[in-house]
């Protein structure tokens, strides 16, 4: 390599083999720079065709060596033609990559969730694991919130060393969905009922009929149906899906469908439910999205702490490809659409759509300035429709029943079905599906009711807000929550009873945002720290004059931050103060 400046450190043969294997899976070949060639480095330059392989290469290195070693970094730098300083910048961005020193052990590392509702069980579990000598990493929400019960304790994720990652509570059994025996489910109809690893089972349950319907309708009509259904994004922003698809369809050239499966909003686990137990539905739905918008390439960016979902999606993609449902000439049509999975590496901010693009492209997961929007300048700066898994799942019943019929479900401002993630002090936590309309009280009853005396409910996750008992009769619709100054967000309904230490809960929410801020813009990078400091020093006492400070911080973060993380970093804390839960 004539042009990259590298330190003397060299990778071990095991590290090189691990990185090579990861790149071979992606079909990425090592960079070869001819002596006469003017080198296009891997900097911010978007034209480096190998840079998108950086995150997979780093995952391989971390698994092999337990850290991003200096020699391994140099090897990746040479292989992908990316400067080592930029590799370090990327690796140090993520929770799952260790960059400081080599670990002094060969053990797997146990990531223990310290966010609500796991918070109240976390320290006891950490003490227990440490007593056993298990290496620990305190983790933000791991997306297993339904498991946070006194029996189970906090969510755990095991980061493998020379071994696959795993979640101790994952099992190969069919999941015991709370609503398994209910009729009328549209989004969860396959969950817990059919083998999620069998394409035959999926087709037997009516799978791929929606794609056939889409082919019969043609791309334009598909988008018309989605628009007629009034489908709005289920990831939190509630943007009309039809508008997004129409925008991408109007563009030309290479286009992408990206599934934003970086489910990291504390309290959210519905997409994990879908991906683990009905992966084929997501594959079929994103294929329809590709057909409607004219995109040739589909990507699933899934959070790194979801090993079972990743495995089952890969099985689904592979078996669908064998059967002709993924790849060139899908179902003997002239439509080509391939799908690739990319794993995140632990960064809440990568759920922000433009940060996700940067992450997937092999850059730091920092949000981009909008405009331009993804529909014109998305992944690789090309037109992109990026959707949440639950949003895409809605497309299947829309195809099968027709947009107008589906649009008539629910309420005036919120059509169709919705998944809610029930957790906390509730009898039967889990993912629940309703037709839009039930009140907060109804939804809590669906989960078997609150355990103990209800004090507050966190709606929409850490980026959402607390509501009190006076909100129990509020319908959980987009319009009713908005009118009440709350938001549905990603569908988090986290119940807290009167035994809750709200000071601890709110300090942790503030800590979550200071840890997860990418650091790019000043208001969020420093504002989130100052907010956390105020909460720490006033914890358990009165806020007194500090409320004005929190409000000033909030306004600056809301107005001047680049992305939604900063915009919402104070919402939950301020709502807790309003309700008298803290301060």
């Amino acid at each position: 390599m004539p042009d990259l400046h590298l330190t003397q450190d060299r990778a071990s043969s095991a590290e090189m083999a691990a990185v090579d294997a990861a790149l071979a899976t992606l079909g990425v070949t090592p960079a070869v720079v001819e002596e006469t060639e003017r080198l296009v480095r891997g900097g911010i330059h978007r034209k480096n065709e190998r840079r998108h392989a950086l995150l997979p290469a780093l995952h391989a290195l971390q698994t092999e060596s337990g850290w991003i070693s200096k020699g391994g970094t140099n090897y990746i730098a040479e292989t992908l033609n990316v400067p080592p300083a930029e590799i370090y910048g990327v690796a140090s961005f993520y929770e799952m990559f260790r960059v400081d020193t080599a670990p002094d052990h060969d053990e797997n590392v146990a990531h223990v969730c310290v966010d609500s509702p796991c918070l109240e069980f976390a320290e006891a579990k950490i003490a227990e694991l440490e007593a056993d000598g298990t290496p620990i990493h305190r983790s933000p929400c791991l997306g297993q919130c339904e498991r946070a019960t006194p029996d189970h304790g906090p969510a755990l994720f095991i980061q493998g060393r020379k071994a696959a990652n795993s979640v101790p509570s994952d099992s190969s059994d069919l999941w015991d969905l709370p609503q398994k025996h209910e009729y009328g489910l549209k989004l969860l109809k396959n969950v817990g009922r059919i083998d999620p690893t069998s394409l035959d089972a999926y087709v037997g349950a009516g799978g791929y009929k929606a794609l056939a319907k889409a082919f019969a309708l043609g791309p334009d009509k598909v988008i018309e149906e989605v628009s007629a259904a009034g489908l709005m994004g289920r990831g939190g922003a509630a943007f009309p899906t039809g508008v997004k698809w129409r925008g991408v369809a109007a563009e030309s050239g290479t286009k992408h469908i990206v599934v934003n499966a970086d489910e990291s909003e504390p309290g959210t686990f519905k997409d994990r439910t879908i991906m683990e137990h009905d992966p084929f539905s997501l594959i079929e739905a994103m294929t329809i999205a590709g057909f409607a918008t004219g995109a040739q390439k589909g990507w699933i960016y899934i959070r790194g702490e979801y090993p079972l979902a990743t495995e089952r999606l890969q099985i689904a993609i592979d078996s669908a490809r064998v059967a002709g449902f993924v790849g060139d000439g899908i179902a003997r049509s002239s439509f080509n659409f391939d799908i690739e999975i990319r794993r995140g590496a632990g960064a809440y901010i990568c759920g922000e759509e433009t940060a996700l693009f940067n992450s997937l492209e092999g850059f730091r997961g920092e949000p981009r300035q909008k405009p331009p929007f993804p529909t014109t300048n998305g992944l690789f700066d090309q037109p992109t429709a990026i959707n949440n898994p639950e949003t895409l799942l809605n497309v299947l019943p829309i195809m099968l029943e027709g947009g107008e019929v589906y649009g008539n479900l629910g309420t005036e401002g919120s059509s169709g079905h919705k998944l809610f993630c029930l957790s906390g002090h509730i009898a039967a936590p889990g993912t629940y599906e309703v037709e839009f309309g039930p009140t907060l009280r109804d939804v809590l009853e669906l989960g078997g009711g609150v355990q103990g005396t209800l004090k507050a409910v966190l709606l929409g996750g850490a980026a959402g807000s607390f509501v009190g008992l006076d909100a129990l009769d509020m319908p959980l619709t987009m319009e009713a929550t908005r009118a009440a100054g709350a938001s549905l967000g990603s569908g988090v309904v986290m119940a807290f009873n009167d035994t809750t230490d709200f000071d601890a809960v709110c300090v942790r929410i503030a800590e979550f945002f200071r840890n997860e801020s990418c650091g790019q813009c000043v208001p969020c990078r420093i504002g989130a720290v100052r907010q956390h400091e105020v909460l720490v020093r006033t914890s358990g006492s009165k806020l007194n004059g500090e409320l004005k400070l929190l409000q000033d911080i909030d306004l600056a973060m809301k107005d001047a931050s680049i992305c939604g993380l900063g915009h919402t970093a104070s919402t939950a804390v301020l709502s807790a103060i309003d309700l008298g839960l803290i301060g």
Binding site: G43, T73, P83, Y88, V522
Partner: protein, 297 residues
């Protein structure tokens, strides 16, 4: 602060927007900041520079645009026909005040001379964050005789990263690293500069807005309490090393060169130089025994 004057040529398509109630025209593709400058409105900027791609990270240049839910960074948002912009509304003043206040509470701004007047104008009070707000808390790094890095003064504006990378030097010796408040500018694994890809062009030093990066000559004089910027003379000349013809500005104090820069609007350099033009001036003062390039690697 930086301002970029772009007079509208007759042949160019102009975009007209309203700024504080007055119509202002800028060439198509021009930014709100261009419009503000054209209207004679001064705008605070930190991460913006006319010779770098805007990263809109500092957020101190934000303005209020009608029908936009949040404020928008004027440095990087293109002016669109019919935009209605307010640069001095309550919301704008609040966010500018807070950005400067946040920085003042966590970063050593003692040598960020251009920020002081803005902090006064917007009433920033960095002292109101308790007794011990977390700060950058970094030691000065002196690794060679050409420039020093004092990340206690770093506002993470990305300018040095851009100058080292795509916007000028294409060396990519440094990157933003870490995340959140722990983010820092770093070489790979934070190795010392002489061990990194750094080629000592000094373009990062030239674009640093807070003196976190300083030429060693300046640093030493400041340490001795003998940095007298107001007395310094600036002499324009052309670099004598090769045939490119880079303009140099020699900053001299007590008849000795203390710093070399190049005008940001110069057609050849855009403000950027190489190691020879930037640091290869010792011979000017040399007795025959003093000629050496003091990289130290």
């Amino acid at each position: 602060m930086t301002s970029r004057q772009q007079p509208v040529a007759a042949s160019e398509t102009a975009v007209t927007i309203s700024v504080n109630g007055s119509d202002v025209s800028v060439p198509e593709g021009g930014t709100i900041l261009d419009a503000c400058s054209a209207a004679g409105i001064e705008t605070p900027t930190i991460c913006y520079a006319e010779n770098l791609t805007p990263v809109n990270a500092c957020r101190v240049c934000v303005v209020e645009v009608e029908n936009s839910r949040t404020l928008v960074p004027s440095c990087s948002r293109a002016a669109e026909p019919g935009m209605v912009v307010q640069t001095d509304s309550e919301r704008v003043r609040h966010s500018r005040k807070m950005v400067l206040e946040f920085l003042g509470s966590g970063v050593d701004l003692s040598q960020a001379d251009q920020l002081a007047p803005w902090m006064e104008k917007y009433g920033s009070d960095p002292g109101r964050y308790g007794e011990s707000p977390e700060t950058m808390n970094e030691e000065v790094r002196i690794e060679d005789n050409l420039y020093i890095r004092d990340y206690d003064k770093c506002v993470l504006c990305y300018k040095c990263v851009e100058a080292c990378g795509d916007d000028a030097q294409h060396t990519f010796a440094i990157s933003m690293s870490g995340r959140g408040f722990g983010a820092r500018i770093a070489t790979e694994f934070d190795v010392a500069l002489p061990d990194s890809a750094c080629v000592y062009c000094g373009n990062c030093v030239a674009v640093c807005p807070t003196n976190a990066l300083q030429f060693k000559t300046e640093f030493d004089l400041r340490e001795m309490g003998n940095w007298r910027e107001e007395e310094q003379e600036v002499t324009q000349t052309v670099c004598s090393y090769c045939g490119v013809g880079c303009n140099l500005e020699l900053h001299t104090q007590d008849e000795r060169i203390v710093k070399v820069t190049s005008p940001a609007d110069h057609s050849v350099t855009s403000g950027h130089l190489c190691i020879k033009g930037r640091f290869g001036w010792q011979y000017v003062h040399a007795g025959a025994d003093e000629v050496d390039v003091q990289i130290g690697r």
